[in-house]
């Protein structure tokens, strides 16, 4: 068994692409080996700014010889058949082997040297390598067909054992020579093999293992902060990024002028992180300290004094700019920025941001006045929440504007006010410079101009949740604005036909839809979908059904990812006619619990049997039920009695949204159904009996469907 070492040395690979590159290298390498029938005992990949490497341990020296056998005609077959077979295999009669009167062509494929396989595999991998962005370079690039790599590729080391695996790609010949750190050890190094690779490069001031570099950055940065009596604000993203920017990481702690701490801490942290890739520190009181940790790529001859000084200066310039924006912004009231919002086009078909603000403010107020968003979470469950059936909408009747509910009051005013201010920070200097601070800065500015804290909070958090895993707002004012903003975006873009398609979702409507679903769900909001979407579409129906389906699709995806069985989701969603997400999910969760019980499994089996018979007999939908005119068999009578008892119970429970009880009621059908199938013949010779029994099964199906469409459930 022999180890293989591959090193692809290039100019600086973007940090964000390194993890993906390791993964792809391992995947492509395994695929190439598999093609040749080889596999390695263990494959390790490394990535850093200037090299991508792979070590495969325990490869055989050659692939195994394979003997291929092709069956031919019988030895006694007519000559034409034999000739045909010889032509096909390219052999002569003498080369065939006869066994039990049948001719076989046997070809021996000898094993190939692994080095030879690798010499073909590596160029194939390099040529097919899927970089997110790649480029051409140098004289070779006179042809657009020239090789592409993420940045110019300089050298390739390929060693099988101690031997170079010889190949050439676009003028680069594989070898055993690399170079160390750009500044500390730029000379050539002759590599001896996979087992010494990491150590040889360590000697040349290159840590090839990204995890080792990350650990040094993480530990040393924390230690430096601790030595200064501070605590590092941990940031694994920064650790990985700095590990991707350095071959020999040397964290260094620096200070900035305390005066800059007047700037909101998020701004300082963002400036430090995004622009400079620095960590920030907290002092013992939990507040941001005037210290940063940068990660150098050299052991400087002066211990890093110049580097710290330089980095400190750059950060100071950045913070000075940030403070300038912050102080300038504070001079203008958010209300006075409105004329500027009128100049920003939200979308050419949907007017300006000021128009959007207008719509969102009205919608936020409406959500409160309708009792959808209320002051206390407990009251929300009793809210109106009476969904209009889809048929109302399909028939073209647009619901009249609801009468102003008595509720609302202060909450409605606050929601409207917050929505009115929510987008003003888009035209502030700070958000112009750091778009990712949208909302947050608005919150600061709103608080600074003396708005109600609930309004400031809503301005700050109304973009939430931004993607999965982000906090979902729970403060009532925030919920109203966050929901109204997202409902408006989805509804308005749907109205003008700009729906996401395939991978294209330029307005991030999927994220908005998921945000809507999570906000409704986590706050237990009783939000009747059709009236709400119609409201968001300006009291007209321009595809509200589509919009609801779109949001529900997002919800399904989210539930699937949360581990809810997709067939159960389908079983509930298939019932249709439901426009209340909270109720839908309660049902799905109850169903998930139920089908894993014994009762659930058996009821499902009974249901499936009943449904199959009905399907075979072409009995669809509800059947008119009339009690049998003949004397029913005992098992038949039992089932009728059980249904008579269970149906109202289940219906009652569903109405009360108590899906556990509804399912318990259905579970009582399990034994009677089993017995019915054991004792009673559905297809009786007497057509009257047959009709009654089919109708009875239809009752079973209908009863089960009050909870979920069990035909969609697998198993």
């Amino acid at each position: 068994m022999t180890d293989f070492l591959l090193e692809l040395r290039s100019e600086e690979i973007p940090a964000r692409m390194q993890a993906g590159a390791r993964e792809n290298l391992a995947k492509l390498f395994a695929a190439e080996l598999a093609k040749a029938g080889l596999s390695a005992g263990e494959v390790v990949t490394y990535a850093g700014p200037r090299r991508l490497a792979l070590i495969a341990k325990g490869l055989p020296s050659a692939t195994e010889a394979v003997s291929e056998e092709v069956k031919g005609p019988r030895a006694s077959a007519p000559p034409q058949a034999l000739e045909g077979f010889l032509r096909k295999t390219g052999l002569t009669r003498e080369q065939l082997t006869e066994r039990d009167g049948v001719l076989f062509a046997i070809t021996e494929k000898p094993g190939r040297a692994t080095a030879e396989v690798l010499a073909e595999a590596i160029p194939a991998i390099v040529r097919a390598f899927p970089w997110p962005k790649s480029m051409r370079w140098g004289a070779e690039s006179a042809s657009t067909e020239s090789m592409r790599w993420v940045r110019p590729l300089h050298a390739i080391v390929a060693l099988f054992g101690a031997e170079v695996v010889p190949f050439e790609i676009a003028g680069i010949t594989s070898g055993n020579v690399t170079r160390g750190h750009r500044f500390h050890a730029p000379a050539e190094i002759v590599l001896t093999g996979a087992d010494t690779y990491v150590e040889q490069l360590r000697g040349a001031k290159v840590l090839v293992d990204q995890d080792e570099r990350a650990a040094i950055i993480r530990d040393r940065a924390s230690a430096l902060a601790a030595e200064a009596g501070l605590e590092l604000v941990e940031d694994e993203g920064l650790v990985a990024e700095n590990a991707g920017l350095t071959e020999w990481p040397v964290p260094l702690l620096g200070r900035f002028d305390e005066a800059y701490l007047d700037v909101p801490p998020e701004v300082i942290q963002l400036t430090a992180r995004v622009n400079q890739k620095y960590f920030v520190c907290r002092s013992s009181d939990g507040k941001l300290a005037n210290a940063f940790v940068c990660t150098a790529n050299i052991e400087a001859s002066d211990g890093g004094a110049k580097i710290v000084e330089g980095n400190g200066k750059v950060l100071a310039a950045r913070l000075s700019d940030a403070r300038f924006f912050y102080e300038t912004d504070l001079k203008t009231k958010l209300d006075d920025l409105r004329p500027k919002l009128e100049k920003i086009v939200f979308h050419e078909k949907l007017g300006t941001v000021a128009d959007k603000v207008e719509r969102v403010a009205k919608l936020a107020r409406w959500l409160v006045e309708e009792g959808i968003v209320t002051e206390s979470p407990s009251r929300r469950r009793e809210g109106l929440g009476k969904g209009r059936a889809p048929s109302d909408v399909a028939s073209g009747t647009v619901p009249p504007p609801s009468p102003p509910a008595s509720g609302g009051g202060e909450l409605a005013d606050l929601a409207e006010r917050a929505a009115y201010l929510a987008k003003a920070d888009l035209v502030t200097g700070m958000v112009g410079e750091f778009p990712e601070l949208q909302g947050l800065m608005g919150g600061y500015y709103a608080a600074a101009q003396g708005e109600d804290p609930r309004v400031a909070e809503a301005v700050r958090d109304h973009y939430k949740p931004v993607g999965q895993g982000d906090d979902v707002p729970t403060a009532p004012v925030t919920v109203a604005v966050a929901l109204a903003d997202k409902l408006d975006s989805v509804a308005q873009f749907f109205m003008v036909g700009l729906k996401p398609s395939g991978s294209k979702d330029p307005f991030a409507l999927r994220r908005a839809a998921l945000g809507i679903a999570s906000t409704i769900q986590q706050n237990g909001l009783r939000l009747p979908f059709y009236p709400t979407t119609i409201r968001a579409m300006g009291n007209a129906d321009h595809g509200s059904t589509e919009m609801m389906d779109f949001i529900i699709d997002r919800l399904k995806v989210q539930q699937r990812e949360a581990g809810v069985r997709h067939d159960l989701i389908d079983a509930v969603f298939a019932l249709g006619g439901e426009d209340d997400l909270v109720r839908l999910l309660a049902r799905v969760h109850a169903l998930q619990a139920f089908v894993t019980t014994d009762d659930g499994t058996n009821l499902l089996a009974g249901y499936k049997r009943a449904a199959n018979i009905l399907k075979k007999e072409g009995v669809e939908g509800d059947q008119a039920w009339t009690a049998p005119t003949y004397t029913p068999e005992p098992a038949e009578a039992d089932l009728i009695a059980a249904l008579d008892a269970a149906e109202p119970k289940a219906a009652e429970a569903v109405k009360a949204e108590d899906f556990e009880s509804a399912m318990a009621a259905l579970a009582s059908l399990r034994a009677p159904i089993d017995r019915f199938f054991d004792d009673v013949t559905v297809n009786d010779a007497d057509p009257a009996k047959r009709a009654v029994r089919l109708a009875l099964l239809a009752r079973v199906r209908a009863a089960v469907h009050t909870v979920a469409d069990f035909s969609r459930i697998e198993g």
Binding site: E12, M135, T144, G310
Partner: protein, 279 residues
């Protein structure tokens, strides 16, 4: 510093050019970069180019933001295999000690929507400060580079601040006789910021934009790519001024940029045709 860079790049086979006598937002607009980057011929040049970015004006109040500043441009086609080493050599030549300073190549892909150009490369950091834009052009004027050119753009003021160890651009020493950068340029920054943001007559500018665009097209019809390109530069700068005046809405912005791009692409195309190069 400029002389050192001239010497350095001249010794490495670059022709040393003078600034182009037109207003432009970056050295990349210099025809010695844009037009000469196209086509198969080898081309190595270095030059200083004054740049005007009206929206970056800060009335002389920001320590490192200027509406008028200088770039040092190097263009090498095809991109040499040791371009990174050549570049580091030039830093050493102007006095950057790499045993004490942390030089880093940080991903920064370059794109000029108004030139229909893009490339991959880095911003080069010296102790966390961006001192150079380093780009391998992949497309120019919408045409694939055949071969690829390497472009280095040094921010001269930044490098000077760094080497002279000053925090404010206006404190840079222009000579050893006590003349500072501020003595030379502060008043210019104040007045030009005021003109760019507040005074420039927008009707005149709109008119100038239309005329430059029309003239560019006339030149293209006459198969004169260089004058056509000059008009495209003029239109581009006029557009930048209109932006600084805040009279171009977000929606219109795209349309204007598209217009400039079409002009620049037209000029590049005509240049390719004139030289008989296939796309």
């Amino acid at each position: 510093m400029i002389l050192t860079l001239h010497d350095y790049w001249s010794e490495r086979g670059c022709v040393i050019l003078q600034p182009y006598d037109m207003e432009m937002g970056a050295g990349t607009f210099h025809p010695a970069t844009t037009l000469r980057a196209l086509g198969p011929d080898s081309w190595n040049a270095a030059f200083v180019q004054p740049c005007r970015r009206p929206t970056d004006g800060r009335y002389g109040e920001n320590p490192n933001r200027l509406q008028h500043y200088y770039q040092y441009q190097v263009i090498l086609k095809p991109s040499p295999a040791d371009l990174q080493d050549l570049y580091l050599g030039s830093l050493a030549a102007i006095g950057v000690d790499m045993a004490k300073h942390d030089i880093r190549f940080v991903e920064d892909d370059w794109e000029s929507p108004t030139l229909g150009a893009w490339g991959l490369g880095w911003e080069v950091w010296c102790d966390g400060m961006e001192v150079t834009q380093f780009t391998y052009f992949q497309q120019m004027g919408g045409y694939d580079m055949k071969p690829v050119a390497g472009e280095l753009t040094y921010g001269l003021e930044r490098l000077a601040m760094y080497i002279q160890d000053v925090d404010n651009v206006y404190d840079l020493r222009f000579n050893d006789a006590g003349v500072s950068y501020g003595d030379v340029f502060l008043e210019n920054e104040k007045q030009m910021s005021t003109w760019n943001f507040e005074v420039a007559d927008t009707e005149t500018l709109f008119d100038a934009f239309r005329k430059a665009a029309a003239e560019c097209e006339r030149c293209l019809e006459a198969k004169l790519p260089i004058p056509a390109y000059e008009q495209a530069i003029k239109a581009s700068h006029t557009f930048n001024l209109l932006q600084a005046r805040g009279v171009i809405s977000v929606a219109e912005r795209q349309a204007y940029m598209g217009r400039v791009r079409d002009l620049a692409k037209g000029a590049c195309g005509a240049w390719m045709d004139k030289n008989g190069w296939a796309a």
